[in-house]
């Protein structure tokens, strides 16, 4: 996999006049690094658990696995402030609870959804943020800085730009991160929104998760440039390329773009190179095996983000080799993993969410016709 920075990425260095001396990652403490690792485990475990639940036929809706793409979610969210906003899409389910999770996994006042809320959404319960009126990733919470997206790919980027415009009007240095697959960058509204954000130097950072496939279509048939990040050139904004398997590289690039946006210098696109572990959704696993070459899949999954990060931690002496191999879900398909592959903290946290979801009631049928219009004088 390519991990070099693109021509536009050196834009970053040109602007500051010198190559980066201290990288954002260098300021992370050992405790931060271990927290990052736990968050990677958590994102993986959430997905694995849902894949299993889905196969048991307990859940409705489609699961778009984020397996193998966790470093992007964890790395982009780790350095955000509580007042920042995000708009995750279909493959980003863990983002809803990873937002501001550094404020404490069980902290009820943190600016992200609780694991219970996210599980309630997956189980379609009345306790879900939107009371289960739309499925899976289509949830939001304005009080926590999470935009409720529609199904229409790239359709939330202009909304993010509007929120960023509000920040500008208020002289508030918060930022908005929008998540999209590489295929979605072919949508007209992607251009309209980024064009608008670039004109007004709005603090919008578009995270492009380039997992090489948009459903059954390879990236070459979605985007004519070598790197999707090159789309940034048309807007004279930075188009950064991060190694989506390396949580620290994702973190560095994000923090660079975030600081730039906070300083009023405008939007960036960050292309995170990654690989889709399974089919497009859980309904597509068998067909994906036919349209996607076997060796491509093997190669893509060789650099499991958990393995990449653990190796780095061992190299730095933050983690002993023994501790690194204590839990090892990496390189395993969901079905091959057990709870023993994950730290107890992670398993417990998810358990709490699932129990909340299962014990929550379904929405009452009478709610079906409610909330079409807001009352006057709300």
């Amino acid at each position: 996999m390519k991990t070099e920075r693109s021509a536009t990425a050196s834009h970053a260095e040109k602007e500051s006049g010198e190559p980066h001396q201290t990288r954002p990652r260098d300021l992370l403490q050992n405790a931060d690094l271990l927290e990052l690792l736990d968050q990677l485990y958590l994102a993986r475990y959430f997905d694995v658990r849902l894949i299993k639940e889905k196969r048991r036929g307990r859940l409705r809706g489609t699961l778009y696995s984020s397996h193998n793409q966790e470093a992007i979610l964890v790395g982009t969210l780790f350095g955000l402030r509580p007042d920042d906003w995000i708009s995750p899409v279909h493959r980003d389910m863990p983002a809803f609870f990873l937002k501001d999770i550094r404020a404490g996994w069980d902290n009820p006042s943190r600016m992200g959804m609780s694991i219970g809320e996210v599980c309630a959404q997956v189980w379609g319960k009345a306790t879900a943020p939107g009371r289960a009126r739309d499925n899976w990733s289509h949830i939001g919470d304005s009080s926590k800085g999470i935009i409720c997206s529609t199904s229409m790919l790239a359709g939330t980027i202009p909304v993010a730009a509007g929120i960023a415009y509000d920040f500008k009007l208020r002289n508030q240095d918060s930022v908005v991160l929008t998540y999209n697959g590489e295929g979605s960058t072919a949508q007209g509204v992607f251009h309209e929104a980024i064009n608008f954000a670039a004109i007004h130097k709005l603090p919008v950072i578009t995270i492009v998760e380039n997992n090489q496939w948009a459903y059954g279509t390879p990236v070459e048939l979605e985007c004519p440039t070598k790197d999707v990040a090159d789309r940034a050139k048309g807007y004279d904004i930075p188009g950064l390329i991060a190694d989506g398997q390396d949580v620290l590289d994702v973190y560095d690039n994000t923090m660079w773009a975030v600081e730039r946006a906070r300083a009023g210098k405008g939007p960036s696109i960050i292309e995170c190179k990654t690989f889709r572990a399974y089919g497009h959704g859980d309904h597509d696993d068998d067909r994906a095996a036919k349209y996607r070459p076997e060796d491509e899949v093997g190669e893509g999954r060789r650099r499991d983000p958990l393995a990449v990060f653990k190796q780095e931690l061992v190299k730095r002496g933050v983690l002993s080799q023994d501790d690194a191999s204590k839990y090892s879900p990496e390189f395993k398909n969901a079905a091959e993993t057990t709870d023993e592959d994950f730290p107890a903290r992670v398993v417990e946290y998810m358990k709490q969410g699932v129990e909340f979801a299962i014990s929550s009631p379904l929405p009452d049928a009478s709610e079906g016709t409610m909330w079409v219009f807001a009352e006057e004088n709300r």
């Binding site: 739309d134 919470d141 359709g155 202009p158 960023a164």
Partner: protein, 334 residues
Amino acid sequence: MTASATQSQPVNMLTAIRQAIDEEMERNPEMVCIGEDIGLLGGAFGATEGLQDEYGSMRVLDAPISEAGIVGAAIGLAMRGRPVMVEMQFIDFISCGFDQIVNNAATMFYRTGGKVNLPMVIRGPSGGYGGGGPYHSQQNEAWFLHSPGLKVVCPSTPSDAYGLMKAAIRDPNPVIFYEVKELYRKREIEEIIPEGHTVPLGKASVRREGSDCTIITYGNPVYFCLEAAERLASENVQAEVIDLRSLLPLDEEAVIGSIKKTNRVLVVNEASRTCGFAGELIARVCETAFEHLDAPPMRVTREDTPVPWVKPLELSVLPTTDKIYDAALRLVRY
């Protein structure tokens, strides 16, 4: 606010609209206007003339030609609690922002379980009779009436436009606001607007009383219906003309009340016929007032064609006074 002319001398519809937006911008410093050419230029028709000078280029924002981007940004601003006025340069171009309106804005309150409402107005010049051709003559309200979560209004007088604009901007929901551009500068309908005037959404206005048939309409055809009613009076037919002003919410009480009195109904609008608002209205009348009808409900609408450019073609497909007069006679003689 620029010196108000509305309360001392008669104003046209365009001035009334501009004035209403201006006053709302002053009343609520959080409010933002966004659209193509609305700032420096003051809008293609001048509906936002002078507003950028008054409120600055941050609050009166010249947007790039990106209807989806504009509506999406307005959703973001409205999510943050700001009332937003979006101008479509012509309402025809609203199709380019369609997804953001029907899938995003319209459903937001519903999808968030009643938590996130969007105080936004999308307004723009609409309607035919001006030689605009297929893309500058549309009256495409049916698209939005068919998308639950949107309110839709279409006033026909300066004071209604003024009052509804204020109510629409203050409404917590997305409102699509049709401004009949042929009425923007129409001299004959200029009027003085009383101070503090507002018109609630969902209230029809009886423009002429009558006992022989009810003509329900809105927008430009209101005037053709009134003309037809004059002519019908010389035939001893007294037509009641109701201007709906607001299509959703709909003043069903006014409609049904009138039909109970006249027992005959004709619906006139300038949108195309199939699956149009006239058909919906007639269905409702049949459902709730069937026993009061002495004749089948009738409608005069645009033919099921695009709006053609040159005058004879245009008038051949749009409702005219003659067509309305003929239909009303058929109705009362049924």
